[in-house]
Symmetry: C2
Subunit: 725 residues, 2 copies
Amino acid sequence: MRIFSAFISSSASFGHRSLSRLSLRLLSFSRIAIPMDAAEESLRRALAEKQSAIETQGNAVRSLKAAKAAKPEIDAAIDVLNGIKLEKSSIEKQLEAAVSGNAGDGVLSREAFRQAVVNTLERRLFYIPSFKIYRGVAGLYDYGPPGCAVKANVLAFWRQHFVLEENMLEVDCPCVTPEVVLKASGHVDKFTDLMVKDEKTGTCYRADHLLKDFCNEKLEKDLSISAEKAAELKHVLAVLDDLSVEELGGKIKEYGITAPDSKNPLSDPYPFNLMFQTSIGPSGLSPGYMRPETAQGIFVNFKDLYYYNGNKLPFAAAQIGQAFRNEISPRQGLLRVREFTLAEIEHFVDPEDKSHPKYSDVVNLEFLMFPREEQMNGQSAKRIPLGEAVSRGIVNNQTLGYFIGRVYLFLTCLGIDKERLRFRQHLANEMAHYAADCWDAEIECSYGWIECVGIADRSAYDLRAHSEKSGVPLVAQEKFSQPKEVEKLVIAPVKKELGLAFKGNQKNVVEALEAMNEKEALDMKAALESKGEVEFYVCTLGKNVSIKKNMVAISKEKKKEHQRVFTPSVIEPSFGIGRIIYCLFEHSFYTRPSKAGDEQLNVFGFPPVVAPIKCTVFPLVQNQQYEEVAKVISKSLTAAGISHKIDITGTSIGKRYARTDELGVPFAITVDSTSSVTIRERDSKDQIRVSVEEAASIVNAVSDGQMTWEDVWSNFPHHSSASTE
Amino acid sequence: MRIFSAFISSSASFGHRSLSRLSLRLLSFSRIAIPMDAAEESLRRALAEKQSAIETQGNAVRSLKAAKAAKPEIDAAIDVLNGIKLEKSSIEKQLEAAVSGNAGDGVLSREAFRQAVVNTLERRLFYIPSFKIYRGVAGLYDYGPPGCAVKANVLAFWRQHFVLEENMLEVDCPCVTPEVVLKASGHVDKFTDLMVKDEKTGTCYRADHLLKDFCNEKLEKDLSISAEKAAELKHVLAVLDDLSVEELGGKIKEYGITAPDSKNPLSDPYPFNLMFQTSIGPSGLSPGYMRPETAQGIFVNFKDLYYYNGNKLPFAAAQIGQAFRNEISPRQGLLRVREFTLAEIEHFVDPEDKSHPKYSDVVNLEFLMFPREEQMNGQSAKRIPLGEAVSRGIVNNQTLGYFIGRVYLFLTCLGIDKERLRFRQHLANEMAHYAADCWDAEIECSYGWIECVGIADRSAYDLRAHSEKSGVPLVAQEKFSQPKEVEKLVIAPVKKELGLAFKGNQKNVVEALEAMNEKEALDMKAALESKGEVEFYVCTLGKNVSIKKNMVAISKEKKKEHQRVFTPSVIEPSFGIGRIIYCLFEHSFYTRPSKAGDEQLNVFGFPPVVAPIKCTVFPLVQNQQYEEVAKVISKSLTAAGISHKIDITGTSIGKRYARTDELGVPFAITVDSTSSVTIRERDSKDQIRVSVEEAASIVNAVSDGQMTWEDVWSNFPHHSSASTE
């Protein structure tokens, strides 16, 4: 009975809603309810008033004309009308500016900025649309040489910052995953987006995207809509993720939305599973999928990993690898792709003790946080000390807080602008029913605030799901230093008596008795003791039966327990590496005038840890001796594992700097003598002079963070760059 | 005509045969024709003679009995019979030993050795059968924590040794690949294995595996087969890869091979495509596959990469990533899996100049090579200086030779035993028709000689295939310093005259004329000039036509050319990372007696560059002060990026060493005072004493190769280990 009702409630709480649960874990875009701006609302009302005043005054003018009134009188009325029209036009302009946000020009300049970044990225082969010579595939991108190096650097730093620092157990599981695993995790049934089809051409669209586009366009371009209508559209945008399949279909019908390409009518929405399906082995009988996340590979290995860790909690496992998501119609370039690299951590912890031994390392960090309450009240993100957020219970526990702090350090070390990074807490309706708390690291870029890391306390959900499906208990034990005495309720149905009384219904009655909770059982015990008999509702029979004293023994017994067995909670920081890299590209990009001032030069201001190439080596002029020196330095750099480029073409030094600034190369060694060389730093353009022998080791030291450029700058003679740049 | 006949011949040369082309590129097992051992042959003949002698003598005994001969006479005949039987039994024993190779016990000990390695690998979580709690999936394995670290180390070293050293352009392309790309590469049509099905249960088997198993088992276990039969079976094994689908089916029928599990009859063999198929996007109209190799991602990007390299040849591109192969029935554990990591290099080079600027770096290397000729003559691999192999033309060109040398250095630096590594040249029938030369780095392990790296000169095949299919020319240009005068053959069919003469067949005749090669055209020119008319076979019409002088103009014209446009050749070293790692596990594994001598302890003797954990830190006894020191050292190690483990459990130091030796940890720091500590090296068990401050930097230096243990040993005071181990 109890089991049955639990099943019902868990099944109900999984509806279309659960889509967003799963998809949010996979870094989908978050949409926050933004209350309608007061200014905008009053402008819409003023606009409607003016429109109605224009109609009234227009009627007045027409009446005067019909009545053949005197010309001065008619002219005066027309002047009034024109005056109102002018006022209306002015309000329209204000409204236009208001609806495009602080944006106004902002929207345009954001898009122009993005275009400049993307052009540079594509031209310098940071990335390439995959299979370009075959006209590409939407949502698939290659990293070209500098992009691939940035990615390798980000992953190496991730390993250093998380895996090595915390002694995490890194694993590497296949992408091909049998159905049973993803059935247990819920992905086979619930990892879907709602899709509509063009009824004539069969082209597919994401239903929520069409509705979103419709609302946004209406709000931005149709100034004639009423304040009420605008509020309604804004409400739809706010609850987009929460709409049921019927509500979504209803809205699409109500607004008369058609296929964007053909204007044909659309089908009703229906769920489309986002996993790439395949078949394992030749028989066609073993369905499999390309994993939608790396986490499941860790969960199914919990037992072995726990053993490997000496049967001790807490510990964390980690995995870096490809994940796949067969998007219906990918948009937003590098941010929404069909194949991407995830780096995921599963930190397993005793649910009764979520403290973290290194919590004190992060307690004093302070950065932008956007708690649930602030979002509901329409406030904005604010700077809160992490320790305060945890102690005030805004962040659920220390371990979750610790990882939020570590993620902050990770992203800012990579070069993410800390003013454009915030941690946003999931609203109650965004979170899975089992989750204890959930925060997203969101980075602002030209597309808005983008979820790049999810940090969730998923409680015991995943381990329990796999325990149930596989039959292998995924649990931890806490051995007590000395046995503990516990009182346990024991319900012992007397099967012989129950069999005599209820014959074929005996089994139902036994199950119902055993399923009683503590209070029900103690009430029954009391009633049996006082009255000897009690009416008892058996859910599976749908009726009351009469239970007598000899039919069940209910008692509380004291037992000695030597250990506690429990399912650990899991705290999961999950990193969308491609999204972090794209935001990093935008945050690192700037332009500056060329020396002649006749053009703007592009620069990627990557920190050395991320830079795809750490250093270039140029002979100042084409010259056998200088080239030899350049080669000697190059050899030392290779030996030290420093990626670099040697350029012995005769191009002018200014052009060479411009070329490498655009690749984000932080240091350049210029050979202008056989004994000493200069080292130039990209952003300051400052140069120092060092001996040939020192050059490689200095670049090595500033590249791997042993020294900063400031250290170098204060220790070596400066070199005037006037002649070269 | 030429085009047509070229199509025919290429299609013919792609038959079932082409399977092995593609599969060999993907690291399938190589099978070499081994001539039947002379001793074995004479034993089989002797055995057959004895068998027939037994029959003859048996008949004689029966005749004597039937003729009621005298008892002594019968007894004497029986003695002779028993004598022959004894001789036969002795020959059987010799033959048994001979057929199991030098093996005999060898086979058993190889399997026992493998079992010891695999047990240790599984117990210490180097790898785990994937989805184990769901009873796993054949051919899928996870790397657990130490295995994952070894893999990351191997890949990092690969990047340093190849990508950084040669300034290669590394790219990172998706696994999901649209059909058109793999159609062009030949995988959609030809990447197949032949499969047979159990006709009753539907279970699938690889046809060649069943035939191979049958032959091997017959040869090893059935001593009664004749020398001729044995030679036939050995021949079948030798040509297994070359059998057509009909021949393979015929042999299976002839030998009466049935399904191994059920003994049911088998279907005829038919091709099964080894790619995992999926569908891209929601429409179901865009078939895609999980890539079977990473190389195609590089080929389709050739144009952009060539541009990135300043339109200069040679250059190399590289990619590390997952590849997939839906094996029919995977065997041989970690060596034949359905998902694996490949690291591939595509070195693009002018086909007219395959020299390599760094060739001199490898010219003096000398290692085991196994050229085609030695294989054909039944000789074994021999030590040849690389320079000699190239200069004698055994290795086709310098660049191929350079990479063979670099692969040798790579594998031996990782810890592959150079006595169990050989470079085997492909036999003519193993190589694709377009390949110029092909060598496999084969490593000997308990499964035999395993192909781990393929190094092929694939000529212009891949780029041409994608040029043709995509319509995008994938070519390079060589600009001449001054224009060159070249003579070119011009064939100009006179369409008007041909139309009058051949009407609807005009097009076929024109194409056939244009398709003539230089010799054919010049012969026709001479014939037309002398006779005015010539018979000409038009393949597409299937008949001769009569060509007159006025129907075609054939001339040689001089032209000035400013550049040469050509399709680069590609030299492709392709590394099966998982196979290399497995062989490394076997080559690194050894056992040694414990101090008490009561048990054998396992050791993985990984070189520091590969070791999953570089160092452990132990306080000698449980003690607050020592633990503090251990933590300080641990912090310095983390800062230096050295993966290590700190163990403050109270276990005896000997047990701790044994535990970490089994993980291949090369160094152990034991804290036995607050001022100085000891560092112990795994294989020698030697210990030195150093100050607390020095400990981390010394381990750092010996771990990343700045120093060897020998350097350290001669520079620091030695510590007697008698008390601890």
